[in-house]
C-alpha cells in the first residue's frame, strides 16, 4: 500500500515537471492553430476550432524556406567544422602532455563563461569592418567559437575514457599518431563525437542573438524570420507560433531519435 502511494507521488511529481516543461511548447503549437482572436481571448480558450491559416501564410512566405535553408547550411557547416577541428584538438588534450595545456584548457572554458551579449557589439563592428556582415561565413565563424569548446570538452572526456593501452598496442603495431587517431580514437569515440555534433547543431539551429545582430536580408536564419513578424503595428502571433513550430519540429524529432545515444554519450566517460 505504502509502495503504491510513493509510486503515485513519484508519478505525480514527474507529471508536474513534464507539464511544466512542455506547457510553453503546447502553447506554441496550440496557438499556431488558433485564429488571432482566439489567441488574444481572455480568459484563454481551451477548446477552439483549429485553423491552418497560419501555416498557409507561413508556407506562402518564401522567406521562411530561405531562412530554413540558411539555418540548415549554417548549422551543418558549423557542426562539420567544429567536429573536424575539435576532435583532433580533443585527442591532443586527452593524450599528450605539452606546455600550456592547462592554459589552453582554461581558455576553452572561459569562452563559455562570458555572456554572449557582451561580445555582440564588438563582433558586429568587426563584421562590419571586414565586410562579413550578412554572410553565412560570419555566423559560421561566430558559432564555431561557441561550439568548439563544447566539442572539445565532450570529445576530450570521451577520448580519455579509451584505455591508453590501446594506443600503446597500436604504437607497437606500427601505427603513427594520425593512424591511431583515425583507426582507434575516432571509431571508439564515435558516441561522444556524435553527441557533441548534435549539441553543436542544435545550438547553431536555435541561436537568435547573433543571427539577429549580424544578418540583414540575405542570410536571415529561421529564428530571425520568426521574430521578424513582430514589426510595425501588428503582432501576428499565429504566424509567429506556426513558424516557431516549423523551426522546432525537425530538431525535436531529431533529438528524440538520438536522445538515447546522447544520454549514453554524456555518461560514458563518467561510468566507465
Amino acid at each position: 500500500m505504502r509502495l503504491s502511494t510513493s509510486t503515485l507521488l513519484h508519478a505525480l511529481g514527474l507529471a508536474t515537471v513534464v507539464a511544466f516543461s512542455l506547457f510553453p511548447f503546447y502553447w506554441m503549437v496550440a496557438a499556431s492553430f488558433k485564429t488571432q482572436a482566439d489567441i488574444l481571448a481572455s480568459p484563454p480558450v481551451l477548446f477552439f476550432t483549429p485553423t491552418l491559416e497560419n501555416y498557409r501564410a507561413v508556407f506562402a512566405d518564401a522567406k521562411v524556406f530561405g531562412a530554413v535553408g540558411n539555418s540548415l547550411l549554417i548549422a551543418s557547416a558549423t557542426t562539420a567544422l567544429a567536429v573536424l577541428l575539435g576532435a583532433p584538438a580533443a585527442f591532443a588534450l586527452a593524450r599528450y602532455e605539452f606546455r600550456g595545456k592547462s592554459d589552453l584548457w582554461f581558455w576553452f572554458i572561459s569562452n563559455r563563461m562570458m555572456s554572449p551579449i557582451v561580445l555582440a557589439l564588438p563582433v558586429y563592428l568587426l563584421a562590419l569592418q571586414t565586410g562579413l556582415l550578412d554572410t553565412h561565413l560570419v555566423l559560421i565563424l561566430i558559432y564555431l567559437t561557441f561550439n568548439l569548446p563544447i566539442v572539445v570538452w565532450i570529445c576530450t572526456d570521451q577520448f580519455k575514457s579509451i584505455p591508453p593501452d590501446l594506443e600503446q598496442a597500436a604504437r607497437l603495431d606500427g601505427a603513427d599518431q594520425f593512424t591511431i587517431f583515425r583507426k582507434i580514437y575516432l571509431p571508439l569515440g564515435a558516441p561522444g563525437i556524435a553527441v557533441s555534433a548534435i549539441f553543436s547543431f542544435i545550438f547553431s539551429w536555435n541561436e537568435l542573438l547573433y543571427a539577429l545582430v549580424l544578418t540583414r536580408r540575405n542570410v536571415q536564419t529561421a529564428p530571425v524570420v520568426a521574430t521578424s513578424y513582430m514589426s510595425g503595428y501588428e503582432l501576428p502571433w499565429g504566424k509567429i507560433m506556426a513558424t516557431g513550430t516549423v523551426i522546432v519540429l525537425p530538431v525535436t524529432i531529431f533529438a528524440l531519435i538520438v536522445s538515447r545515444h546522447m544520454v549514453r554519450g554524456l555518461t560514458m566517460g563518467a561510468t566507465k
Binding site: D165, A169, A170, R171, L172, A175, P187, L188
Partner: protein, 362 residues
C-alpha cells in the same frame, strides 16, 4: 650470443627515480622473467624495452642494434598487455591483422599469417567475433596471437595472466611455456607471481625498488638466494627467518642460539663459518618444505597455532620462540592447535644471512 642487452638503464619520472641502474643481458631464445613486488619497476623496465617509456639514462640494444631512442614499432618487439588491449571495435581477425596492415603486407600474406597464428592458438573459430564476445582466456589467446603474427624479435608479456582465474591461469601458463618451446622465441615476461616465474623462466631477474637483487636460473635462486629478499620472494610458502645469535664459531661450524631451537642452540656446518665472529647476529633461513615431523633428531620445538589441510599435504603455522614458522608436511598428521611440535631440519637446506640480510657464503 647476446640478443637483448640493458646497460645501466635508468628511469626517472620527474624527480622520482624508478629504475636506478639495471644491467642485464639475454640470449636469443631465452625466456626471462622479471619478478618483484608491485612498484619495483618491473613493468616500467619492460615498457622501456618496448619503447613505450623513454629511457632516462643507459643503453638498450636488441640483436646488436642500439635501440635506446628507437621508435617502438621499429624495435620489432611485440607486447601482450595485462589488459590484453584488444581493439574493441575490430574483429579478432582484424585485431591480429592490424600490425601487418600497418606494415603494408600483401592481403594474402596477412591472411596466411593470421590463420597460422589462429591455428597455433586454436582460435580459428573465433576470427569473426568482436573481443567483447570472448571469454577472458580467449581474449588472452587473441592478444598472444596478435604478437605472434608479427614474428617479432622479442615477445614481451606484462603480467598477462593476472586477470584470469586460477585454473585458467595454470592452463595458459603451460601454453605459454609450450609456445616458447615451439617458437624458440626470446621472451621477456613480467609477473609478481613467483610460481609463474619459477615455472616459466630460463632465468629470473628479481627486482626491488628499481634495482636488481639477483639474476639466475630458478634453481639458482631457490638454492642460493643472495639475500633475504630473494630468499623470501622465491619459494612458496615463504621461507622462515629466525634472528639468531652466534655463540661459537669454529672451523666450518657455527653454534647458533635461538629460543626455537631445542636446548636453545644448534650447531650448523657452514663453509662461511670462518667469516663470522662470536656474538654476531645472523638470520637463519628455513624453507617450510625442508622441515620434517617424526624425526629422530628434532632441532626445533614449535607451538602449533593453526593447521591447514591441503589434501595431500598439511601446512602448519607455528610459533618458535616469538617468531612465526611455517612448515609443510606430506599427509594429514592430526595434531591439535596448542601442541608442541618437534621438528627436524634438512641439514643441507639451512640458509644463513648476515645482519644486513646478505647471504653468508664461503
Amino acid at each position: 650470443m647476446t640478443f637483448l642487452q640493458l646497460r645501466d638503464i635508468k628511469k626517472k619520472f620527474g624527480e622520482v627515480s624508478v629504475i636506478k641502474g639495471v644491467s642485464f643481458s639475454a640470449q636469443k631464445g631465452e625466456f626471462v622473467v622479471f619478478v618483484g613486488p608491485s612498484g619495483c619497476g618491473k613493468s616500467t623496465l619492460l615498457r622501456m624495452i618496448a619503447g613505450l617509456e623513454d629511457v632516462s639514462d643507459g643503453k638498450l640494444s636488441i640483436d646488436g642494434k642500439d635501440v635506446t631512442y628507437e621508435e617502438p614499432a621499429k624495435r620489432e618487439v611485440s607486447m601482450v598487455f595485462q589488459s590484453y588491449a584488444l581493439y574493441p571495435h575490430m574483429s579478432v581477425f582484424e585485431n591480429m591483422a592490424f600490425g601487418l596492415r600497418m606494415a603494408k603486407l600483401p592481403e594474402d600474406e596477412i591472411k596466411a599469417r593470421v590463420l597460422e597464428a589462429a591455428r597455433i592458438l586454436q582460435i580459428e573459430a573465433l576470427l569473426e567475433r568482436k573481443p567483447r564476445a570472448l571469454s577472458g582466456g580467449q581474449r588472452q589467446r587473441v592478444a598472444i596471437g596478435r604478437s605472434i603474427v608479427r614474428n617479432p624479435k622479442i615477445f614481451l608479456f606484462d603480467e598477462p595472466l593476472s586477470n584470469l582465474d586460477a585454473e585458467l591461469r595454470t592452463q595458459m601458463r603451460v601454453e605459454i611455456a609450450k609456445l616458447h618451446r615451439n617458437l624458440g622465441a626470446t621472451m621477456v615476461y613480467v609477473t609478481h607471481d613467483q610460481v609463474e616465474a619459477m615455472t616459466l623462466a630460463d632465468r629470473i631477474v628479481v627486482l626491488r625498488a628499481g634495482l636488481v637483487e639477483q639474476i639466475g636460473t630458478p634453481t639458482e635462486l631457490y638454492d642460493n638466494p643472495s639475500n633475504t629478499f630473494v630468499a623470501g620472494f622465491i619459494g612458496s610458502p615463504k621461507m622462515n627467518f629466525l634472528d639468531a645469535t652466534v655463540t661459537d664459531a669454529g672451523v666450518g661450524v657455527l653454534t647458533v642460539n635461538h629460543p626455537a631451537f631445542i636446548g636453545g642452540s644448534i650447531v650448523i656446518s657452514s663453509p662461511a663459518a670462518g667469516r663470522i665472529r662470536k656474538g654476531e647476529r645472523i638470520t637463519v633461513g628455513l624453507r617450510p618444505e625442508h622441515l620434517t615431523l617424526n624425526t629422530d633428531k628434532p632441532r626445533l620445538r614449535l607451538t602449533l597455532d593453526i593447521s591447514e589441510n591441503l589434501g595431500g599435504s598439511t601446512q602448519f603455522y607455528t610459533t618458535g620462540g616469538s617468531e612465526p614458522v611455517t612448515l609443510i608436511v606430506p599427509g594429514r598428521p592430526a595434531i591439535a592447535a596448542g601442541n608442541a611440535l618437534d621438528v627436524g631440519i634438512a641439514a643441507d637446506h639451512i640458509y644463513l644471512f648476515d645482519a644486513q640480510g646478505q647471504a653468508l657464503r664461503a
